[in-house]
Every structure is written in structure tokens, then in C-alpha cells.
Amino acid sequence: MDQIIIQTLHGLVNGMVLAMVASGLTLIFGIMDIVNFAHGDLLMLGAFVGASVLGVTGNYWLALLVAAVVIAVLGAALQVTTLRPLIGRDPLTTILATFGVSLVLQKYALWQWGPSVRQISEPVRGDFTLFHLQYPWYRIVTAILAALIIGGLWLFLKYGKYGIWIRATTQDRVMAQAMGIPVPLVYTAVFAIGSAMAAASGVLFGPFAGVTQTMGFDFTLRAFIVVVVGGMGNLGGSILASIFVSLLEAYAAIVVSPAQAVIVSFIVLVLTMLFRPTGLFVPTPK
């Protein structure tokens, strides 16, 4: 029983982090039809930048902020140089291009920071007591932060002036342009936002398992699964799906090893694609 409670907490916390990553991915896909293979690597770079800043300043919150900003700029640069020329081309070309970028980013991280695992120390010490169980506070804090950030994103999209621009462009790019919305700029901004969220996720996740140059791939994989299961381009759906899939994986980890628990996600993906291809949490289209 204790196991189940702990795993539930794990699932929820991991789910929130994954939700942050998937939100960025689904936003990017929804607006410009790009399946960003390098998303997890942006997360990874964010974690490394965060680790470095933390090492220099000792301030976790500063590290989080700097990582998000730096990677946002990197993301914008990437979009302008490699993805803008590909607008209008076959979407599979963008998978290939972002795959190439992913390789470069991974190896760059290896070159810049070396192969050893970096540490990001927890921002908050101590354990949280639930009944007689102990659970690290920082993980709870992480989940809350993730929820806040996602909430902030949602508010921005719903009420902000630029949020309206983003939603309009997602729905009808041509008409948005006709209304004077500078679509190319919106694309770059969205990519930057997605990158920033990925980077922040990286820093938040850092204390969980250390920072390595391959940590991004697992996230990319899970984020892809979650975005499909949640309905591509559907923000709410991908958040729900993130929690759902993470919980399932956490429970599965009771029975099999954590590395094997990812198979559960795969099964969910397969079932979704076969029976509800528009997404598990999306009402079936008429």
C-alpha cells in the first residue's frame, strides 16, 4: 500500500514535469506542424546551463531563470536558421532536420561539459510527511512550480494580446496574416516559449537523476507519446495524458524495473493510435 502511495506521488510529479515538456512540444506542433525532435535536447541543454549557473552562483532560482532565457534564445535562433527555410515543405523533412539538430546539440553538450554526470542540488531540503511516509519536499515543489508555469502559459494564451495572436495563427495562418499578425515572428516566439519550457523542465528535473547528455532522448520519446495520446496540438489533452501515462508507468515500476516501465507508455500509445487516433482525451470528431 505504501508503495502505491509513493508511486502515485512519483507519477504525479513526473507527470507534471513531462506535462511542461509536452506543452511546449504540442504548442509548436499545433502552430507550425513541426515535430521537434530536438525538444528533449533543449531540455538537456537547459539542465546543463542550469547546473553551470548553479555551480557559479549557488542560486537555484537564478539558474532556472537563466537556463530558460538562454535556451529560449537558442531555440529562436534554431527556428530562424534551420526551420524557417523549411516552411511549406513536407513535415517529415522537419523531423529529419530537427533530428540533425538533436545530434549536434547532444554532442555539443558532451564537448562542452564532458561525459561525467552533473549535479543540480535540490532547491528545498527535507522531506514531506504523508501519514508515516517521507517524500522529498523538492519534488512536491517541482510539481507545483510546473503546474504554475503551465497555468501561466494557459493564462497567457487565453488573455494576453500575444496569446490571441498565437491562437489565431494556430487556427488559420492565412487569415491571421491578413489581419496584420506577423506570423513569422509568432512562429519564432512560440518556438522560443517551447524551448524555454523545456529548459525549465530540465532544471526542475535535474535534482531527480543528475544531468547527462542523453537525458533528453527519454523525454523526447515520452513527450512524443504523450502528445499523440493527448491529441496533437491539444494543450489540455497533452497535460492530462502526461499525468495519465506517468502514473501508469509509476505503477508499472512496482512490478517491473523502471527501465522496462516505459513499455507501458508504448502500449498506451499503440492502443491510442489504433482505437482513438485523434487522442484519448479528445472527443471523437464528428
Partner: protein
């Protein structure tokens, strides 16, 4: 030589066959004149070239981008390992058989998805599938040797009942060359047949192909099976050449590299991906001298630039240049 192949893809005219013969002849002589390192290199190019060709069937001809080739390759490898470890004396034929059957098994699975999913969803699920596969191999230590993989002895080149001769280094190279060359000829025959034409038609415009009356699903299934089988064969060859099977080769990166070969060389040309494999491996060698293990940085940059500016690959680029 490449020029004549590119300029006349349909008619097997004299220049084409001459070119082909020249390449084969060069590869035959290779082990005799090259230093051992480059000799191995030549053999490896052949094997990766076969893998690249198998992938081209799906990506280049049928238009289905797949990141799952590491699974087929890996299954071929581990299948051969299984035969060579469990059956004494080690038999070449059985190694090939086991490997192909294992790869075929995975191919059936993937083929099922190919018929139900399109484009991005298919690509993502092959990606996930190959990763799952890696996890299984990595963690099922009792069967697969886990992280360390399996080692075994190289089987002799044997036709049961007739003769049995252990492979020399040259002999192995020629064997691989023979298998790859035959595979190439077979694949070429298939892609230039009406079947191959339908595949390309599916790539260009699937709804229209379906509307004309072709059973698109059946063609896709066959394409996946073919692709998987030849990828598995490449895995078998790799196992035989190196005498080990390791999870590293089931990593997604292998699938990724395969896709790189295809894009760099020129999709849908069969020859292109082989050239792409050679080009990539060469670049890897050269850049490794300068950048050590960071060779993927410049290679990755070149790949990305090629996707953007040279989507037709090297072969396409050459083709255009020579047609001007």
C-alpha cells in the same frame, strides 16, 4: 560511373552494367591491396550499405519514414547469435535463417502498424518501437547478455554435406560482397518492376493510388517485410563479421544513422543510400581524427544543411549538375 547510372535509371544499358562491374571489381580487389584497417572499413561500408538500401525501400520508394531499422538490424544480429551459440557446430546457413526469421517477426509487427498509421504517427511509433526493443534487449540479461552482449565463434563457410572452409579475412569480405551485390541486384529488380512503380506511386500520392484500385495496404506490408528482411540480413552479416552482438547496435542511433545515409545519398535510388553510407563513414573517419568523439557535431551540421538545401541528396545533386 555514377553519372551513367543516374542519367539512365530505367534502361540497363551497357554503360550502367560496365559501371557496376567496375565497382564490383574494385571491391573484389580491395582486400588484396588495402591495409587491414581499410579492408575492414570496406566490408563495413558494404554491410551498412545493405542496411541503407533496405531502409530506402521504405523511406525512399514508399515514402514511409521509419526509425525502426535498428530493431530489424538488431534482431538479425541477435538471431544469428542465437543460432551460433545454441547449435553446435556453428552453421552459417542456420545463422542466416534464424536472423531472417527474427527480423521477419519484427517486420510483421511493424507492417501491421504501417497499414493503420500514416506519416508522422508511423514515424513516431517506429521510433518508440525501436527504443522499446532496445530496452528489452538491454534488460533481458539472461537471454541477450544485457549490456555486454553475446560473443560467439565465426561459422565456417559451408554447404552442408559438400564442404566446409573457415572464413579468411578476405574470404569473409568476398562473401559479404557477394551477398550485398546479389541483394542490390534483387532489390533493383524489385524496385524497377511494376511492384516498385506502385510503391513510388504510393509515395507520390497515396489517395490517388488507392483510388486507381491498388490495395495500398498489401503493398505497404510487402514493402515493410522486404525492408525488414534485408535489414536483418545486414545484421546477420555484421554478427558474422564481428563475432559479437551488442545492444549498442539496437540503439535508436543506428536507425538515425540509417536515415542519414538515405538522405545524404539520395532517397529512392538504392545506390544513393549506399553512397550515403560510404560518405558518412568516411566523414566519421576523417572528422574523428580532428574532432575525436565529437565528429557528430560537424557531421550533424552537414546533415542538417543537406536536409534543408540538398534534399535530393548527393546523388540528386550530381544528377542535376550533370544534366545541366
Amino acid at each position: 560511373m555514377t553519372a551513367s547510372i543516374a542519367a539512365r535509371p530505367r534502361s540497363p544499358a551497357a554503360p550502367y552494367w560496365t559501371g557496376f562491374a567496375v565497382v564490383v571489381a574494385l571491391l573484389v580487389i580491395a582486400p588484396l591491396v588495402l591495409p587491414p584497417f581499410w579492408q575492414r572499413f570496406a566490408t563495413e561500408i558494404l554491410i551498412w550499405g545493405l542496411l541503407a538500401m533496405s531502409s530506402d525501400i521504405l523511406i525512399g520508394y514508399t515514402g514511409m519514414v521509419s526509425f525502426g531499422h535498428s530493431a530489424f538490424f538488431g534482431l538479425g544480429m541477435y538471431g544469428a547469435a542465437a543460432a551460433l551459440l545454441t547449435i553446435k557446430p556453428p552453421s552459417l546457413g542456420l545463422a542466416v535463417l534464424y536472423g531472417l526469421v527474427a527480423a521477419a517477426g519484427a517486420a510483421v509487427f511493424v507492417a501491421y502498424f504501417a497499414t493503420r498509421l500514416r506519416d508522422i504517427y508511423f514515424a513516431i511509433s517506429t521510433l518508440v518501437f525501436s527504443q522499446i526493443f532496445y530496452v528489452i534487449i538491454f534488460t533481458w540479461t539472461e537471454v541477450t547478455g544485457g549490456e555486454n552482449g553475446l560473443t560467439f565463434r565465426q561459422p565456417p563457410f559451408a554447404i552442408p554435406g559438400l564442404f566446409s572452409v573457415p572464413f579468411t579475412r578476405n574470404g569473409l569480405h568476398w562473401f559479404v560482397l557477394a551477398v550485398v551485390a546479389l541483394s542490390y541486384l534483387l532489390l533493383r529488380r524489385i524496385t524497377q518492376s511494376p511492384f516498385g512503380m506502385v510503391l513510388q506511386s504510393i509515395r507520390e500520392n497515396e489517395p490517388r493510388t488507392r483510388a486507381i484500385g491498388y490495395h495500398v495496404e498489401r503493398y505497404k506490408i510487402v514493402a515493410v517485410m522486404l525492408s525488414g528482411l534485408f535489414a536483418g540480413l545486414a545484421g546477420v552479416l555484421y554478427a558474422i563479421q564481428n563475432k559479437f552482438a551488442a545492444p549498442d547496435f539496437v540503439l535508436f542511433l543506428i536507425s538515425g544513422e540509417t536515415v542519414i545515409f538515405n538522405v545524404m545519398g539520395g532517397m529512392g535510388t538504392l545506390v544513393g543510400p549506399v553512397a550515403g553510407a560510404a560518405f558518412f563513414l568516411l566523414m566519421k573517419e576523417v572528422f574523428s581524427r580532428v574532432f575525436y568523439e565529437y565528429y557528430l557535431i560537424p557531421v550533424g551540421v552537414i546533415f542538417t544543411l543537406m536536409v534543408i538545401f540538398l534534399p535530393q541528396g548527393l546523388l540528386g545533386f550530381l544528377r542535376r549538375r550533370l544534366n545541366q
